[in-house]
């Protein structure tokens, strides 16, 4: 199998001993493009761009707030794609979007929109394996990598099927719950990453509930990397793009020690 851009880069970096860091930034939020550039400069390996949706069931208060603000400022998926095209940060971009955004645009059209915006991958958190067929056909044809989520609730027989369909990386959900910052890293985060590492060669990144540099370091003792969502978005809303750059540098240093 030939890998897409993101998976090719991730595998090469992992095999060279680097831990992977993927900050999440809500598309269209004030300062989002500068924040992406700052994150890239500070050592991010890819960026996950959130496409704001009216009903984000997998997101906690911080990302809900960010999505709401972006929507109120008139942001649309199309305006985000247009602005993403100008980024040229030298690392792969992924989108995180709820399935109705894809469904409404149409699978082929959405895949083409991503492709022409220079976006490599898509994460669709309410599109589980059983429902993913039609989208994956369109995404595969366009060369868009579909990241699959694996959850702590998955029985052993399910994980290999999820991993087999994953392109780019496997998103190892860190805990039972929605996105947001927690006081400590849940035991389930490393437990699931360990189960996944045992059954797949696809890079395994932990996201949801990885809330600071120390928790990222802990997750990376098992996983190939981390996704940082609410902790990044909160810094963008409170401190602006510079605060995002500083934070990404701090996490980079912690996971690479």
């Amino acid at each position: 199998m030939t890998f897409g851009r993101m998976e090719t880069e991730f595998r090469a970096k992992r095999d060279a001993g680097r831990k992977l860091l993927v900050p999440y930034i809500t598309g269209g939020l004030a300062g989002w493009q500068q924040a992406i550039r700052a994150a890239a400069d500070a050592g991010a390996d890819a960026i996950e761009i959130g496409i704001p949706f009216s009903d984000p069931v997998m997101d906690g208060p911080i990302i809900q707030e960010a999505s709401q603000r972006a929507l109120e400022s008139g942001v649309t998926p199309v305006s985000i794609f247009e602005e993403a095209r100008e980024l040229e940060v030298g690392i792969p971009l992924a989108v995180m979007c709820y399935y109705n955004t894809v469904h409404h645009a149409g699978h082929e059209r959405f895949a083409y929109q991503l492709l022409s915006a220079g976006i490599s991958a898509a994460i669709v958190p309410d599109l589980p394996l059983e429902e993913s067929g039609p989208w994956c056909i369109a995404a595969d044809a366009a060369g868009i990598e579909t990241v699959m989520l694996a959850a702590p609730t998955a029985p052993d027989e399910r994980l290999p099927r999820v991993a087999a369909r994953a392109r780019g990386f496997v998103y190892s959900v860190g805990l039972l719950g929605v996105t947001g910052e927690r006081a400590s890293l849940a035991a389930s985060a490393t437990a699931l990453a360990r189960r996944l590492k045992a059954i797949t060669d696809v890079p395994v990144l932990v996201g949801v509930g990885v809330s600071n540099a120390e928790q990222a370091r802990q997750a990376c003792t098992v996983a190939d990397g981390v996704i940082q969502g609410a902790s990044v978005v909160r810094r963008l809303m409170d401190g602006g793009p510079e605060a995002v750059g500083d934070y990404v540098a701090e996490v980079r240093a912690a996971i690479q020690h």
């Binding site: 069931v57 906690g60 649309t76 599109l127 059983e130 429902e131």
Partner: protein
């Protein structure tokens, strides 16, 4: 085979339905489907539920022929009296079924969403009866306009959380209940209040409400000398009371009418979309953002609709007209003054359609599902009518 048969293995009614949930919830939905299949095939479970419906909820509910309104409108109007059930609406049928199932699955905690508060009250009631804890999510707008039901839930021992995100109505209460479920899936049972959500909910909730249609079918045949009504009319938000009564008549010649509020017409104004775990008609903008519904009735203030309704609409078996808030206010008063029955604002939608369309139904037999009583709406109507 009935038009309203079991959905496909993927939970589809035609091209609608499915299971669009976060990966965390997939095993929970599969487990629920297996548990429901097993329970529904178990005569002991069915007997236990039947006992509860009979001795606790007060089933069977009666039918009432409205002679005054019938004369006035030139039709024969029959009401299925779900308003007379314990807790005041049809919601108790589904909740008793799901709560028994939850108990059988070893769950200790119920979460529920509610719009008008009727499903929340029913859930709180079942939790009190069966010794479970209960948390109800309710949009902040609805908490305000349905204060009486909020207090009822608290009296019954439930915790009510006002939801301040999005449109702060039913849609957002569902989001918040799903977020709770994702975080607590081990011990929590999500007691969904309508024929919506991911498979198996639309099918399971319809089966728990089938009793409405089954009873009404037998009762009408007795009243009508063996024949069926010409029209079956019910209001539709998510669509559970309509599904319940439709299920008894879908394979007859009766016309099935699901009345949507003009400001929340998922079938009438929506297009296929995916939210809350299902593919169904959905009010959305040109980028797929879900639009806010606006209705006088909190119970119908929902931009989506159960997937089996979308299916019945797509094959032309059921029709989904709309009525305006002004027509609903008139119908609410019409029923109260003509028949001495104060309907819930939700059911007043069905009454409004019947009153408007009566000239084209002269001499016909119309069965309306009076799915709830209007006590909860009296304060709101007092403000509107001044």
């Amino acid at each position: 085979m009935s038009i309203m048969a079991e959905p496909s293995a993927e939970g589809r009614f035609g091209e609608f339905g499915g299971r669009f949930v976060p990966e965390t919830l997939v095993p929970a939905c599969q487990e629920l489907e297996a548990a429901f299949r097993e329970a529904w095939a178990d005569p002991l479970f069915r007997a236990e539920l039947h006992q509860l419906l009979k001795q606790y909820a007060g089933r069977p509910s009666i039918i009432t022929e409205c002679h005054n309104l019938g004369r006035k409108l030139g039709i024969r109007l029959i009401l299925k009296r779900e308003d007379l059930n314990h807790t005041g609406s049809h919601k108790i049928n589904n909740v008793l079924g799901q709560a028994l199932l939850a108990k059988r699955m070893g769950k200790t905690r119920l979460v529920a969403e509610t719009g008008a508060g009727q499903h929340g009250v029913a859930s709180a009631t079942a939790a009190a009866l069966l010794g479970m804890s209960c948390k109800v999510y309710m949009g902040a707008v609805d908490v305000e306009r349905q204060a009486l039901n909020v207090f009822r839930m608290k009296l019954l021992g439930a915790e009510v959380e006002a939801v301040h995100s999005g449109s702060r109505t039913l849609k957002d209460a569902v989001n918040e209940a799903m977020r709770d479920w994702v975080a607590t899936v081990g011990e929590t049972y999500y007691c969904l209040g309508s024929v919506m959500g991911p498979h198996p909910y639309p099918w399971m909730v319809r089966e728990f409400h089938r009793v409405i249609g089954d009873e009404a079918s037998a009762q009408c045949r007795e009243l009508l000398g063996g024949s069926d009504p010409d029209f079956i009319v019910a209001c539709v938000g998510g669509g559970s009371n309509a599904m319940g009564i439709f299920s008894g008549f879908v394979d007859t010649d009766a016309r099935l009418i699901g009345v949507e509020p003009a400001g929340g017409a998922a079938v009438g104004r929506g297009m296929p979309g995916v939210v809350h775990g299902m593919r169904s008609y959905l009010m959305q903008d040109e980028y797929g953002q879900v639009q806010e519904a606006h209705s006088i009735s909190a119970g119908l203030d929902y931009p989506g609709v159960g997937p089996e309704h979308s299916y019945l609409a797509s094959i032309g078996r059921a029709e989904y007209p709309t009525v305006t808030d002004a027509e609903v206010i008139d119908a609410f008063q019409l029923m109260a003054r003509s028949e001495g029955i104060i309907p819930a604002l939700e059911c007043a939608h069905a009454m409004a359609w019947i009153a408007r369309e009566a000239p084209s139904m002269q001499g016909k037999v119309v069965l309306m599902n009076l799915s709830g009583r209007g006590d909860k709406d009296v304060a709101q109507m007092m403000e509107i009518l001044g």
